[in-house]
């Protein structure tokens, strides 16, 4: 029941920090051609699945984004008429088109959601990891219990918080208004201006423990002598944190940043379970918009074009991320 295994694995074990491929050590080249054939056979099942479920359908999605695929043409599947760049033009520039304003809303909401959720997860995760890195009675049990929110499935998180946010019977308003009188009136959380925070806060709550776990493992790997030597040289706790701890954690921060941004941008379950397929203009995220327009309104061409734009945006993000953290990744591998 305790996390006592946060120790270095036997050898250069590596699940997250080394996700980017690294050149293989030269000595491995000695392997014979026969072994190479074995290697290809070993990756075959995974490769086949990735091609059939990821690669080909993604190409199909790009094709659909140039087609006029809707309720009337759906029966023809990929035989639907071509539409050129019309889907893209409607989304990006056609202000008379309701899809355009919906897209702008969702883009703004997704930007707010992703920024606040990722910042909350990383800053909160690091702060709590520092707190958990101390010695105290029962700290192992506490570390384990801290992981609980991460194991609660997203759809349960969303139903639970949807209930807690209820204006009249929800526990949050009961605490804020009835018990502590922090607020004089009962805020409405699930509709209107507050609704974005109704999905941001549970997302941070669920994502934070995992970041904490990773940062805690990183903190425990920082050699104690570094801190002791710096303390002897007169560095205070804050200086030791910014000059020793943070630089050593940079590779972990980089990986957490990359994957949390992707995960938050593609978030779908939490808003949909909490608020339904249309969370309203203040909480509609890119994914809820795209899925609603595709599967409720059958605007498949629009959905695919918006997906392509979203994927391009993600590609830009990864490129920026890679430029910013390339050196940390080289150090890590």
């Amino acid at each position: 029941m305790s996390i006592e295994t946060l120790q270095p694995p036997p050898a250069g074990g590596d699940a997250t920090a080394e996700l980017l491929p690294s050149p293989a050590p030269r000595r491995r080249r000695r392997r014979t051609l026969r072994s190479h054939r074995l290697a290809y056979r070993l990756i075959l099942p995974a490769a086949v699945f990735m091609v059939i479920v990821h690669l080909l359908p993604t190409l199909g999605g790009v094709v659909i984004s140039f087609k006029n695929l809707n309720t009337f043409t759906f029966a023809k599947l990929f035989g639907a008429p071509w539409n050129g760049l019309e889907n893209y033009r409607a989304i990006l520039f056609d202000s008379a088109n309701p899809l355009h304003s919906g897209f702008v809303d969702a883009l703004r909401n997704s930007a707010i959601y992703t920024t606040t959720v990722v910042a909350g997860i990383l800053v909160g995760g690091l702060a709590i990891a520092l707190l958990m890195n101390r010695q105290m009675r029962g700290i192992r049990v506490i570390r384990t219990l801290m992981l609980t929110p991460w194991i609660v499935p997203s759809f349960v998180v969303a139903s639970l918080w949807g209930f807690m946010w209820q204006s009249d019977v929800g526990i949050i308003n009961k605490v804020l208004v009835d018990y502590t009188h922090v607020l004089g009136h009962r805020p409405v959380w699930l509709i209107g201006d507050n609704s974005i925070w109704a999905i941001v806060i549970p997302s941070i709550w669920r994502g934070l423990p995992f970041a904490m776990l990773i940062f805690l493992a990183g903190l425990q790997a920082v050699p104690r002598e570094l801190h002791e030597a710096a303390a002897i040289d007169g560095a205070g706790p804050w200086q030791r944190f910014t000059r020793i701890t943070l630089p050593l954690l940079r590779p972990l921060i980089a990986i957490q940043l990359l994957f949390n941004v992707i995960y938050a941008t593609y978030q779908y379950a939490i808003p949909v379970v909490m608020m339904g397929t249309n969370p309203g203009p203040k909480a509609d995220l890119m994914m809820t918009l795209i899925i609603r327009q595709s599967f409720s309104n059958n605007l498949f061409g629009f959905g695919s074009a918006a997906s392509v734009l979203l994927m391009l945006a993600m590609g830009v993000w990864v490129a920026i991320w890679y430029r910013a953290f390339r050196r940390d990744l080289e150090l890590a591998t």
Partner: protein, 295 residues
């Protein structure tokens, strides 16, 4: 106010050691407070599930008299067992398949430098960059096409969902398994091959058994994510292969705000992943944090 620092300098209120201890106690208290805040919603989930619908919707909780009524109500009102069994079967099968594929691919990446290995790794990471909305529709259309032109029925079947989920969770699992294989010394395969094993036999008979913790951790990791998946299952199933995330929505959608059974369903939906996590926690945490610590 301004004389306070001078007074302190003359005769410190607390010795440095006592002050240090005070700070430590304060941080201990803060740690407990943070823990309390983090687990409070889970505690609230459990407490609410033990109330009746009437108490929850009127806001008059009676925490001293828990009742299991909501659980039986939830089981009766929607066919909860149907969703639960589907989730168990689909997620178990998909996680097992994904772990098997990831083990073999992860082993290839850990042991062989073959041409295309970097492309393969990059492609596996690349799959994580694709939004689900991008390939959901083509997957759906492909399944519809297969159903029309061949006897392969994938729409609204457990097999269809298993295949999709297997593909979803294999890429990340590959890197998971690779890290576990890198930690296993190469000597044991060399010894096995000296004893007359082919490389494949050495992998299956010698390396895989010693990678059991890694296999279990990878399986549980995939299971946690598969259990959570909502988007694809909502588009690719109708009546036969729906899983828990869809079942639980019935309390929010079709019925009106039935919180007690909803919370009860939430508790029951969380139990399998909780059990899986705590049973394998030692291995899972080691696998998750392997990248964080450099030996």
């Amino acid at each position: 106010m301004s004389t306070y620092p001078r007074a302190e300098r003359r005769r410190p209120l607390l010795s440095p050691r006592a002050r240090k201890r005070m700070v430590a106690r304060g941080l201990d208290a803060l740690t407990c407070l943070v823990l309390l805040v983090m687990i409070a919603p889970v505690v609230w989930l459990i407490l609410s599930s033990l109330q009746t619908e009437g108490r929850l919707s009127s806001g008059s909780y009676d925490l001293l008299h828990p009742t299991f009524k909501a659980f039986s109500q939830m089981w009766r009102e929607i066919d909860f067992e149907h969703y639960f069994v589907n989730s168990l079967i689909i997620c178990t099968a998909a996680s097992a398949l994904a772990t098997a594929f990831a083990a073999s691919a992860g082993y290839a990446l850990a042991r062989y430098a073959f041409r295309g290995s970097r492309t393969f790794s990059a492609a596996a990471i690349g799959t994580q960059l694709i939004p689900g909305s991008m390939f959901l529709l083509p997957v759906f259309m492909g399944m519809v096409w297969l159903g029309r032109h061949t006897p392969i029925a994938l729409i609204d079947t457990r097999i269809g969902m298993v295949l999709v989920y297997t593909a979803f969770f294999t890429p990340v699992a590959i890197f998971f398994m690779r890290s576990f294989f890198l930690a296993i010394p190469r000597d044991i395969e060399d010894a096995a091959q000296v004893d007359g094993c082919t490389p494949l036999q050495a992998f299956v008979r010698v390396v895989l058994p010693s990678a059991t913790p890694g296999l279990v951790a990878t399986f549980v990791y995939a299971f946690l994510f598969a259990w959570d998946e909502l988007l694809f299952v909502s588009a690719l199933t109708q009546t036969h292969a729906e899983t828990l995330p869809l079942g639980i929505r019935l309390f929010i959608g079709n019925y009106q705000e039935e919180y007690a059974p909803l919370m009860a369903a939430g508790v029951v939906s969380t139990i399998p992943v909780m059990v899986a996590f705590f049973a394998t926690q030692k291995w899972l945490v080691r696998g998750l944090t392997a990248g964080a610590v450099k030996g």
